[in-house]
């Protein structure tokens, strides 16, 4: 018997705190699989954000640094400048990256920092209990948009990948999703290319991963996958905005 699939070594043998069906778990595993395949766990330092994935430092089998809310790209900058030969990635949610940490992400991208950012967009604040995120969709009900998100009050959802792709200094920007197995495979491929881009010194890479939040969306895990596909993807198209030839 040959093993087709088992737990990657770069994940610790710990059950995550994520709710059943939360796709954070899939995204964690994809990063770990890539670390295994590139054999870089020993030279990788990950940065955990504030948000649902704050405990990411318990789940990856590599050195981890926990950062203040939104500041992961600045922390990554300090780490990468001090350890240019190591692999540095930050793992950030939409509140962290697209709200409180917009300055840090935009300027890390604008400096072309040679780091990899995994941006998990599930259109809501999970950790604090389902408040509106800048990426929440119009009419989406959250605990701080109880009547549904209204454009007149809060504008339209922010598309970070599109924004960052306009910066000349970014090397790789892509939006992927994990709502079905085929897309999970595509997401992994892109995460791998982002890490390779960093190893080749090509500069700033970010993979935006559309993800679910069954609990705060008030949906079953399977309904949540369908909601992502039917509502998020039309607004957040899956696209390789920039992928350097060297990593394809």
């Amino acid at each position: 018997m040959a093993i087709v699939f088992e737990r990657p070594k770069s994940l610790t043998n710990v059950t995550t705190h994520y709710c059943p069906g939360c796709t954070h778990g899939i995204i964690h595993r994809l990063i770990a699989e890539v670390m295994d395949e590139l054999d870089i766990a020993g030279k990788t330092i990950g940065i955990a954000p504030v948000g649902c994935s704050v405990f990411a430092y318990n789940y990856f089998n590599c050195d981890m640094v926990q950062a203040a809310h939104g500041r992961a790209p600045a922390v990554a900058t300090g780490l990468k400048r001090a350890l240019p030969d190591q692999v540095i990635f930050s793992y950030q949610g939409d509140g962290d990256l697209a709200s409180i940490g917009t300055a840090e992400i935009v300027h890390a991208a604008h400096r072309g920092e040679n780091i990899t950012v995994i941006f998990v967009n599930n259109a809501i604040y999970g950790m604090t209990g389902g408040q509106m995120a800048p990426t929440s969709l119009l009419e989406q009900k959250t605990t701080t948009s109880p009547y549904g998100r209204q454009e007149a009050q809060t504008g339209k959802p922010i598309r970070m990948s599109e924004m960052l792709a306009t910066l000349d200094s970014t090397a790789l920007i892509s939006r992927v999703s994990v709502h079905n197995a085929a897309n999970v495979l595509k997401a992994k491929k892109m995460i791998k290319q982002a890490f390779i881009a960093q190893q080749k010194g090509l500069g700033f890479s970010m993979v935006e991963v559309l993800s679910t939040c069954p609990t705060n969306w008030g949906l079953s895990p399977i309904e949540a996958l369908k909601w992502l596909e039917g509502n998020m993807i039309p607004y957040y198209p899956l696209k390789d905005f920039k992928v350097p030839e060297e990593v394809k």
Partner: protein, 352 residues
């Protein structure tokens, strides 16, 4: 650079950091400390170090957090409004037990204030500054040579206690020029096994973190931190006393202490029994300096470029044994010797 050269305080401080082995600087421009990042932007590339002009003070301190996680000697500098923005990151660094040096060349406040020198950030520097129960080791030089020496020492102290150390200067110290000697020295070696440099497959992963899920664990962590602060109080108190046998003492730090030396000379020339107590560490505060003169002192006059901040610590140190008077200027104004002398004579009149 072992010969004497004429340097601005800010430049001397930057070169001292380099001489102490600092190769990573992250900052953001703000007057009156711009010479620090400017100097570093010239100097660090010569040494294959890194200078990054961050997008904000918030980002700069978090870059320091990242570099410090890697175990390297790193620093950021700013002036009052910028230091307010760094408080979040400083609190995280204390919580995660990361060493670094933070420089504050104070200017007049509150708000945007003025670009002239001030000492209005004493509370912020010595009582924590950000959220949570913590202290920074705070060093307050009063000459450029002393700023050089204390900056070099600050890097060792930061690593010794795995805690940020603050150099608290002011615009005057940053901008004035004095001849200095800067002798590079090998950094003392402290344990860095906690650093996140990549496991290289040789050890269990390290985690730099200030989050605790259990209140019991967080309290235990706090007890450990308090133990460190207590050790600082036991080991690191520094101060200077002039004329310890005097009856009256001027008390001040930094630029103000410099001005008060002039006043002490003026007063003694008039036959008055006046000395000076100059705290060099603001945390830990040198209570012992006041205990040592308690048996014969008749009064203290605290002078600050603030509305009265360190005076509270002096009152705690004196503990009601003698009267403590205060004279302060704010908003970027410096106290003048003649006014200080007048206040001193007034205090003497009230005591007798």
């Amino acid at each position: 650079m072992a010969e004497k050269i004429l340097m601005k305080g800010n430049e001397a401080l930057a070169e001292a950091a380099v001489a102490a082995g600092c190769r990573y600087f992250f900052g953001y421009p703000i007057t009156p400390q711009n010479e620090v990042p400017e100097y570093m932007s010239k100097r660090l590339p010569e040494l294959k170090g890194t200078f990054v002009q961050a997008e904000s003070e918030v980002a700069a301190i978090n870059m320091v957090y990242g570099a410090a996680s890697a175990g390297v000697r790193c620093m950021t500098s700013s002036s009052s409004p910028g230091i307010s923005l760094k408080q979040e990151g400083i609190s995280y660094m204390v919580g995660s037990q990361l060493p670094c040096v933070v420089v504050n060349m104070m200017r007049g406040g509150p708000g945007l204030g003025t670009i002239q020198p001030s000492q209005g950030d004493y509370f912020q520097a010595t009582k924590g500054g950000g959220h949570g129960d913590y202290k920074l080791l705070v060093l307050a030089p009063s000459s450029i040579q002393e700023m050089v020496n204390l900056t070099m020492e600050a890097f060792d102290l930061a690593e010794k206690y795995r805690n940020p150390v603050m150099i608290l200067g002011d615009g005057m110290l940053g901008q004035m020029m004095e001849p200095v000697i800067i002798e590079p020295k090998e950094p003392a070696l402290y344990d860095k096994s906690w650093a996140t440099t990549g496991t290289e497959g040789k050890r269990k992963p390290n985690v730099v973190n200030s989050l605790f899920i259990q209140a019991e664990e967080c309290e235990k962590h706090n007890i450990n931190l308090q133990e460190k602060f207590l050790q600082m109080e036991q080991n690191e108190v520094r101060y200077e006393t002039l004329y310890e046998d005097a009856e009256y003492f001027l008390v001040g730090y930094g630029t103000t202490a410099r001005i008060m030396r002039t006043v002490v000379n003026m007063a003694r020339a008039q036959g008055l029994s006046v000395g000076l107590i100059r705290p060099i560490t603001l945390f830990p505060f040198p209570h012992v300096a006041f205990d040592r003169v308690a048996s014969h002192a008749k009064g203290f006059l605290v002078v600050e470029m603030s509305a009265g901040q360190m005076v509270e610590d002096v009152r705690l140190a004196v503990n009601g044994r003698q009267p403590v008077a205060f004279h302060g200027r704010t908003g970027g104004m410096a106290p003048e010797p003649k006014h200080i002398l007048a206040e001193l004579i007034k205090l003497m009149g009230e005591v007798k």
